[in-house]
């Protein structure tokens, strides 16, 4: 009961933050110039900012739709789906970094230098990567539902 109440509040807050990030992504894409803010950078390209932002926005909507009557399995399904959508966008961002970090570039050798390799993973990061660790909490609820 308490776990579900916590889940409901947690994903409600996360849903609002996710929706805000999604809207910010879309607005920045319409603006046409990416917005850096500390270690966060909201991309402005049509693919990551536009298409990706649309997915983040819907991930937030899924969270918000799922928080009411959270103990019900279909409601939890919506929250899990919201998290999966964040994993898709963040996973693609991380995979993009990995593929960029390995080759040495036109001027360099076949493989990247250690400095260049590590440099690819330095901030700023996209909103989806920021949301990623918070979205992982859903795994706990998945494991709870599988033990029921």
């Amino acid at each position: 009961m308490i776990k579900n109440k916590f889940g409901s509040i947690y994903f409600g807050i996360l849903g609002m933050v996710t929706v805000a990030f999604g809207v910010a992504d879309l607005l920045v894409t319409i603006g046409g110039e990416s917005v850096p803010w500390g270690i966060l950078e909201i991309p402005a390209d049509m693919f990551r900012g536009g298409w990706g932002g649309f997915i983040i926005l819907f991930a937030g909507v899924f969270y918000l739709l799922g928080v009411k009557n959270f103990s019900e399995i279909h409601q939890q399904g919506k929250v899990v789906m919201g998290s999966i959508m964040i994993w898709i966008v963040a996973g693609c961002d991380i995979f993009g970094m990995i593929t960029e970090s390995i080759p040495g570039g036109e001027e360099g050798g076949w493989l990247n230098t250690l400095e260049g390799f590590l440099g690819t993973y330095t901030p700023p990061y996209s909103p989806a990567i920021f949301l990623l660790p918070f979205s992982l909490v859903v795994i706990y609820y998945i494991s709870l539902s599988s033990h029921k």
């Binding site: 049509m46 693919f47 298409w51 990706g52 649309f54 997915i55 819907f58 991930a59 909507v61 899924f62 399995i73 279909h74 939890q76 399904g77 919506k78 899990v80 789906m81 999966i84 959508m85 898709i88 966008v89 996973g91 693609c92 995979f95 993009g96 990995i98 593929t99 960029e100 390995i102 080759p103 036109e106 076949w110 998945i142 539902s145 599988s146």
Partner: protein, 405 residues
């Protein structure tokens, strides 16, 4: 022993009582997620997310990591200078056919069988095909594809197809040849005709997508959008014009499951073998034929004859005829060849669209003949001529109205 009707039903009841457990089925999280991916309101955003993941992985894996990261360097900086220097008979016809332009600085521009031919087939297309088939197999084995079929069923009925037409449509994004074979899952002649025509005209194959990503990365989205719109418009028209039925389907949607590595590996390998057999020989043959046409002067003659149509109606340079002829052998090769022709961004978009919607590559052509027969193929070809004339001309008109042509 002969049982009466009632005795038979009594026996069935007895057997079912012993063998079937009755109770209330409790929905699991997997069931809930499965339902969400099928209902339009929730399923469409999920499908958009899946497509995003598909495309992002495709670009990062094939483009950033393999083609740009390793193959461009290998072919342009090591292999090309080496073969240009060591291949005997520089300036001769054999050198021109096999190595291409001796002054070329990269494999796209050289256009020899052993330079552009190998680079396109191995350096660009192979990673794209691996990425595509890997993802497609994962989605199939996971159980997402039948759900996508259910989700898109209503939309596809508007163009005379049903949900399972999504299978040949998506397969076609990898290669049109297996997609033609996959059209057998459509029941009626009308459905198969519409699907075969649409996939041959409007769906670019994985090889073509890989090359488009290299040659026109910024405008590729526009080209794909234009083709997608054409897919639905001409599908709608064909549905109205072609007589016949488009029946409903009943799909068995399996539960979501974890794909088995062995199965995925095997399926990808079988599909890749098909690619090696059909695509690579045609890429090399395409380079040879086009180079022979250039050397014999036939290409210039054809370009001059078709110049009024190409420049006047479509608004592209007459030199585009070379890639259009090469497109009959391999469309990816043709798009690669376009990069060596000087033209504006808008002419490039029109040229890429023309190559996509004009005649299918020879391998697809043969498959269509096999699947549809001579009469059906003739019908598809007539549709293609109409589409290329109308749709290609329309694009030129759009550029004129925008003041960029």
């Amino acid at each position: 022993m002969k049982l009466t009707f009632d005795e038979r039903w009594n026996l069935i009841e007895k057997i079912s009582k012993r063998t079937v457990t009755f109770g209330k089925y409790k929905h699991t999280l997997k069931d809930a997620i499965g339902e969400l991916t099928v209902k339009p309101l929730t399923g469409i955003p999920v499908a958009i997310a899946v497509l995003y993941g598909f495309w992002s992985f495709f670009s990062s894996f094939a483009g950033t990591l393999f083609t740009d990261g390793f193959f461009v360097k290998l072919f342009d900086f090591h292999y090309l200078p080496w073969i240009q220097q060591h291949f005997p008979g520089a300036g001769g016809w054999l050198y021109y056919i096999l190595v291409g332009d001796p002054a070329a600085g990269n494999c796209f521009e050289a256009f020899g069988v052993l330079t552009s031919g190998l680079f396109v087939a191995i350096g660009v297309v192979l990673p794209a095909i691996v990425a595509f088939y890997l993802l497609l197999t994962l989605l199939e084995d996971m159980g997402y594809m039948p759900r996508l079929a259910v989700l898109i069923d209503t939309v596809l009925h508007k163009i005379g197809l049903h949900g399972y037409a999504i299978v040949p449509s998506i397969l076609s994004l990898g290669c049109n040849v297996p997609a033609c074979a996959a059209c057998r899952i459509l029941e009626t002649k009308k459905e198969r005709f519409i699907m075969l025509t649409l996939l041959a005209v409007f769906i670019p194959c994985g090889a073509q997508l890989g090359i488009m990503r290299e040659v026109i990365p910024e405008t590729m989205g526009l080209v794909l959008l234009y083709l997608l719109i054409g897919y639905f418009i001409f599908g709608f028209v064909l549905n109205k014009v072609i007589p016949g039925e488009s029946p409903e389907i009943l799909i068995d949607v399996p539960p979501y499951q974890m794909p088995l590595l062995r199965n995925v590996g095997m399926k990808v390998w079988i599909r890749l073998k098909g690619f090696f057999r059909t695509a690579i020989p045609f890429v090399l043959l395409g380079c040879t034929v086009v180079n022979i046409l250039y050397l014999s002067g036939a290409m210039d003659w054809i370009a001059n004859v078709l110049s009024p149509v190409l420049s006047g109606w479509f608004g592209v340079p007459k030199e585009t005829i070379g890639p259009l002829i090469a497109a009959f052998l391999r469309k990816d090769l043709a798009v690669a060849q376009l990069s060596a022709i000087e033209m504006s961004k808008y002419q490039m978009i029109t040229s890429v669209v023309l190559i996509s919607i004009y005649f299918p590559c020879v391998a697809t052509f043969v498959m269509m003949l096999k699947e549809e027969g001579g009469k059906g193929l003739l019908g598809s070809m007539t549709t293609m001529v109409a589409v290329v004339t109308l749709y290609g001309g329309l694009l030129h008109l759009i550029w004129i109205l925008l003041g960029v042509a």
